[in-house]
Symmetry: C2
Subunit: 151 residues, 2 copies
Amino acid sequence: MEGPRTIQQRRQDALAKLTEVHADVWVASASAEGIAHLVPLSYAWDGVCLIVVCDEASMTARNIRASSRARLALGGTRDVVMVDVVLEATVDGDAEGASTAEVYASQTDWDPREAEGDFAYLRLRPQRIQVWREANEIAGRLVMRDGAWID
Amino acid sequence: MEGPRTIQQRRQDALAKLTEVHADVWVASASAEGIAHLVPLSYAWDGVCLIVVCDEASMTARNIRASSRARLALGGTRDVVMVDVVLEATVDGDAEGASTAEVYASQTDWDPREAEGDFAYLRLRPQRIQVWREANEIAGRLVMRDGAWID
């Protein structure tokens, strides 16, 4: 096992994951009744928010619209970037959401505008980010708190 | 993209994942207030239940004890085995939980009995399993319903 990364290195590795293209994220959300949902989704990063797209009728869209929050895991189980997010905005792929749809299409391998269905673009703003690989990195895993990177 | 797998193949692939050793699972749980939690954990499979171990005080232990359910993802984002589970039992690593602790230690790369801390072994019984890789496998992804494999 390598030695633990510095907070600067972890922040850099978190940003590398956020800006990775053609990548997926695990999206955990919960209903008001306290039932957890989990799905993998493609994502894009616009510099401020993660963008994910899901069917308007999906459990994920309904949970996040209702609760305004979710918990996202990027990377593998032993190279984790864990991101607690709030819902910044929901847009469709037309007029108001055109730039969001462009960013999304440029970073993922599908374009919902060309697909059948009724899709919502969810812009999810990180509030808290934790970065760790193995047990020796559990300490010091917090790199963002209350939406601000920790120096 | 390969053609979609048959239900028999998907069931076989799900079992292969469940019986894999030194593997991790994403565990999504929710609080009664509807806040989702997500963590990666090591797991074992005793033929009936997945066994995960977490700190008694952790959010995951508290959520699953309170709600008796969780949603687990095995495999990668494009080779998914998604398992909705109910809590079958919680045991510690002593007396009553000795066999559970043995199974766990034999399939994972750590043994909580030798670690500092107050750990709970959670035995999680699958109720619903979905298996898919890409978009062409969304149809037909259900391989277990109400705790029974679908033929």
